[in-house]
Symmetry: C2
């Protein structure tokens, strides 16, 4: 297997030991206002959120965001400890990916140095802790030079900018007081827990115009230049500290890098952040919050990696999404899905997100594709995601009042209850149908990249029709919970039946569903096509929507196994398009194996695991999960971070890097995989009347435990394979598979035989 | 003096011998469609113009745009010849900045290598000629690896992109066939005059994820990887050629880098560009066109640097501006001024540019600040620039018909003749006046950065009022040339007199003019101000507009000498603002010494030279010109290219880099300095009735010659200092200072005693 590192579960850390993985491995540190992307070198941008904008604080882009230089004053040798630009033979390198911090440790010629970066839970600064330890047996004269690259230019007009050492601050201050800017964050500062011996503020002086970070000009001299900078697009923040270390002596330096509204603000902030134990307290607070979330669902299965991911890391990934998901301009569909997962952790935030999303639904029932920033592409699938999320919220929280909450429609004076929003959404889907009675495709559906099939209001999406069938089922369940809606239920079920019939008539090919029919009456995802014959989501959603009887569903899922499986997952469609097709849209312009055009798009794979579980195919579900794991031996150097899930592996037909993962973290896949394992495989998920416990565990597992907080009560569940299902709650056998709701704070023992 | 290089006039080259100047030194290569910025390393972006957009072809940004690697197959040592990333002790380095080409020559361990880059006068490709010569006395086994960084991603959606060696092309092809892109230029190709031994298309393979250009991974192996690339944002184009060179043997390789609509287009283009002598012919054609332009005005003065600049390099800089000026989003004011200078070179293009500009004049007479792209900032000075340019056009070409040309107003159905446009412009200025009868300041005037003084329609600009006085004088001269406009002339002169009186009453302080009065009745550029007491342009334009008698004008120009002169020119204002002032606008937020806030802004210095000449201060004019020259001993390491003029030197109060020049080439200063020397110092410029010859030469010059083409005839003029003015044309003494118009093609001898 590719050598990357190992999990240190006691510390909730992943320790990267390979300084040159296939691609840099990411971690994120954040609070509500401040986001920092940091890789195994300590590189990556930081941002302050200002209303709907981001103001970058430090440069990223794979280069020298943060460096710690060490210079031996006697030998004059210098190097950076975290990127090793000089390619020296380090005696040690470790990057500890932690919950709320990133720590890089390296050792060279007897000097062990560490850089730990964290972001406190409030404010807009990053804190560094640097340690330098003399592991040799002689006194060592060492210069320590922390270096960062502030993005101090608020505007592109460099003449506004100047930077210098500020003696009142006792640190470096970069100021860009521009005319007519709509926020006050004009300053970036860097301050350390001690006053520096010298400093630099521009790479012109520190690095030199023609030098590299391997070889900065200023390190060839005894001290940095102490020169100010202005009109600069190469600002740096570098400080020199002259240390003398006896054998075994360790020196600790704290540094704060923040964004401020002025020098007074910078002074106030840095005093706070450099106070005694501020750094350690900041990390402790992040950990406390994470531990609280982790405790809501703890499982123990025979698969150690699944335990680690569910108990810690997927929750971390989901946490990032819930706060910062929108940094990738996520939209209605994405936030709705994330919220369905979030309901189990944080009902209050889930409720807020539902209302936020619905305020971006047009009065005709069709939501915006994306908001913040707004994308007006006329995708038609938004409304199909509402009932599932509302139902998940009700099931998890028991809070029926959300349905009566009044919420505006987008860009108009109309408003309506959440129930009204949900129903208008379904009406949009049901009332915008084509000649074959299936739902119109419009500008697209889940598959963003089939984006030219329905602009003429003729093309019909089979997938979206199936999703509508599913949404109606969920809507009816909500109506049942509310009570007194029998007529509405009856009417809409009739419409559902007609829609289902239309799908079966026009989109069913015996062993698969097609994906849709274009404006030009061409089938997409049909066996009659030359390319794009079979689409994954049309099959998996047919299962989730109960489009056929069990035998029929098993048959179409067999098609998935036969046609879409590859060594590292299931592809979105097969064969991928190799020829441009304007009638399909951008998907057919992508390289084969890229994104929707035949990649292993894990969001879709997560749907597939849910479908497997629904059909009771426990081993298939588990096997699928393992196929997309970082340690799948057939794709064990995919580039993905072991501690997160990726949104995509390039498909097997991709010509150059099949199986490669570009990025991870920011993907709705995390929430879906989490639900796959916790709700569908372990089978522990909220229902309106209580906690459903109905496992679908792989045949190799005979035991497992789950500790789960549900509506405030704790259920300590032991699963035991006996061959027949039985649920025993606090010693009492229960009919059915639903454990009752208990008072908040109470703790209950559950045994689930299966 | 700073060691940069030398002019080689026989070749019309500047030869840079210092590989590490203060900043990289720029050159441009271009045709109507294709622009390439190239520095002394051969780095710099290239662009294809597609309607009003640019499509980048190669990456710039100071890094590795073009590299030529050499590898000794026996020693395995490798290096790049043009940037020397490995910091080796080259035996030779020269960068020849040529007219239409850039040539970098270096030598290391007996291998002399050159890279010459040119852009043919048609098409959208750059051509490289690479020579490798064995100067050692043994056979050498050398790998030659040309490398470039194509920007092959038309959109940000990487999945559209793939690249590979194409055997039909015999070269590398990078394709980005994106959905719904509004142009066809989806491909970038690289092909050489020979087939490569191996190739690479991605830096992932060539450079390696963690390596640098000093140390590319692929050069450690015997051949490049021959791998394709897809989904890539690190494309490269590298080809390996295995050479064996005997002592003194030289190998020549041609390479073409182009942008194409498809592989067939790439094949057709590369066949053409790699045909025999295509490279040499391309350079010859650029040179032929430049020589033709150069011949229009040739001077010989005692100042060799002035001769070089006027005869060759300023014309080159002006040529770039006339074709590509708008790449820096230049606007109405800028193009109008450039066109006044252009009229002497290219009457046809000048006429086109006048009409283009006037089509962006609003029907109320006020032009757009900028178009292409459009900037709607309500600057009020646009109309004041029209008469001077139209008059220059008439004087140079004798083409009165332009005045009757009908041209639309901006964004409306109205249209009008050029004369009507010009008059409406003056009416806008005259009819939008404030309480003191001076012209309203609006959103700003020439000084873009005083941009908050007049939004309430109360602030009045003294400078713009003075510019209006000047424009009326020019307008009246045009009316006189047209004839039959006596009443209009009389009326507008009356208005001019009233405006002049208002300026003298409200803006004159005895030894200086103020710059204006804000919406809040505050003076700007007044002796009563604490900062920004004296503005250069208010004084120099008072001279150009004849605001006072000669004594009065000399007095205000003495103020310029006393208060605005510094070691390397004249500052825009003094003292610069150090405190933010919302009532001024962004200028008062700039650092002291930046742009309008007290830099040596050479556009303003060029006005000052014109004013000096107008007052007969020949020595002052010349001294001023030398102050802003690259070789001014008090600022001889400013960063500026010796072969172009810069738009700005940071002012003496700039805290970190006073005297520094950031960039050059794209500035209207080139045209103005050219006119300063040719029309005002040498005094040879078109008038309606003939060629005016009225020198204002420094006392140290007793002789000079000018050969000038005017309305198709050539005037070979010898200047001789005698102490009294006399003009002798073809042996006949002439009354006044205007040599008559002669038939096209005729050649005349002129002696001008002075």
């Amino acid at each position: 297997m590719a050598n990357i590192g190992y999990f240190d579960n006691a510390k909730k850390e992943y320790v990267i030991t390979n300084m040159r993985p296939r691609r840099p491995l990411s971690n994120y540190l954040w609070n509500e206002l401040f986001l920092l992307n940091i890789d195994n070198f300590g590189f990556g941008e930081s941002f302050l959120r200002i209303s709907s904008e981001e103001r970058r604080v430090l440069f990223g882009g794979g280069e020298a965001t943060r460096l710690v230089y060490i210079k031996d004053r006697d030998t004059k040798e210098f190097y950076d400890i975290n990127r090793n630009y000089r390619d020296l033979a380090f005696d040690k390198y470790e990057c500890h990916v932690g919950i709320g911090y990133q720590q890089i440790i390296s050792e060279y010629k007897g000097i062990e140095t560490s850089l730990t970066v964290t972001v406190p839970t409030v404010g807009h600064a990053e804190l560094w802790k640097i340690t330098v330890k003399n592991n040799s047996n002689t006194d060592r004269n060492i210069d320590l030079i922390p270096y960062g690259r502030p993005d101090a230019n608020v505007t592109t007009h460099l003449a506004y900018g100047h930077a210098d050492y500020d003696s009142a601050l006792g640190g470096l201050y970069f100021c860009h007081d521009a005319f007519a800017v709509d926020h006050d964050y004009s300053g970036v500062y860097m301050k350390a827990s001690e006053l520096p011996d010298s400093y630099d503020l521009s790479d012109i002086n520190f690095k030199g115009v023609y030098n590299s970070w391997a070889n900065p000009q200023a390190l060839k001299e005894d001290s940095l230049t102490n020169k100010g900078a202005s009109f600069d697009d190469t600002y740096c923040a570098a400080m020199q500290f002259k240390l003398t270390l006896k054998p075994n002596e360790e020196k600790v330096l704290y540094v704060v890098f923040g964004i401020a509204t002025g020098i007074e603000d910078a002074i106030a902030q840095s005093n706070e952040y450099l106070a005694e134990n501020a750094f350690e307290n900041a990390i402790a607070e992040v950990k406390r919050i994470a531990d609280e979330m982790d405790a809501l669902y703890v499982l123990d299965t025979p698969d150690e990696y699944i335990n680690i991911m569910i108990n810690t890391w997927l929750k971390r990934q989901i946490s990032l999404g819930k706060t910062w998901g929108r940094v990738c301009s996520k939209g209605f569909r994405d936030i709705m899905q994330d919220t369905a997962g979030l309901a189990a952790f944080d009902g209050k935030m889930a409720r807020e997100k539902i209302l936020l999303c619905l305020a971006h639904q047009r009065p005709n029932g069709n939501p915006m594709r994306a908001f913040d920033p707004i994308a007006r592409t006329p995708y038609y699938d938004g409304a199909a995601w509402i009932p599932a999320t509302v139902l998940a919220y009700l099931n998890e929280t028991g809070d029926l009042s959300v349905l009566d909450e009044v919420c505006p429609y987008f860009e108009c004076d109309e408003e309506g209850t959440v129930f009204d929003h949900m129903y208008r959404g379904l009406r949009f889907l049901l009332d915008n149908r084509g000649a074959r009675n299936m739902v119109l495709w419009g500008g697209g559906d889940w598959n963003d990249s089939i984006n030219n099939t329905g602009y003429q209001q003729k093309g019909e999406s089979a997938w979206l029709s199936i999703a509508t069938v599913k949404a109606i089922t969920e809507f009816c369940r909500i109506c049942e919970i509310m009570g007194g809606k029998d007529e509405l239920i009856a009417n809409i079920k009739e419409e559902q039946a007609l829609l289902k019939a239309a799908i079966l008539e026009n989109a069913f090919e015996g062993d698969q569903f097609i994906y849709g029919i274009t404006d030009w009456d061409e089938l997409v995802g049909s066996k009659t096509n030359v390319e794009g014959q079979t689409y994954l989501n049309a099959q998996t959603w047919a299962v989730l929507a109960d489009m056929l009887d069990e035998e029929g569903l098993n048959k179409i899922m067999q098609t998935v196994e036969d046609k879409l499986k590859c060594d590292f997952g299931y592809v979105q469609c097969e064969p991928p398009y190799s020829k441009k097709d304007e009638h399909i849209g951008r998907m057919a312009y992508f390289i084969p194996g890229g994104y929707e055009n035949g990649s292993v798009y894990n969001h879709g794979v997560a749907f597939k695991i849910a479908a497997d579980c629904k059909l009771g195919h426990a081993d298939l579900a588990y096997e699928t999960l393992k196929l997309i794991s970082y340690d799948n031996p057939k794709n064990d150097n995919s580039g993905v971070e072991p501690y997160v899930v990726t949104n995509m592996y390039l498909g097997p037909q991709e010509p150059n890097r099949p199986g490669f993962s570009f990025y991870s973290w920011i993907t709705g896949t995390a929430g879906w995989i989490y639900r796959d394992v916790t709700e569908f495989m372990l089978g522990v998920g909220g229902e309106w009347t209580g906690l459903k416990i109905k496992p679908c565990l792989p045949s190799a597992w005979n035991e497992a435990t789950v500790s789960r907080v549900y509506r405030g009560a704790t259920y300590n569940i032991s699963f035991k394979r006996t061959g027949s299902y039985k649920l025993i709650v606090d010693g009492n056998a229960i009919d059915g598979c639903i454990a009752p709701v208990f008072p908040e704070g109470s703790v209950h023992t559950v045994v689930c035989e299966f």
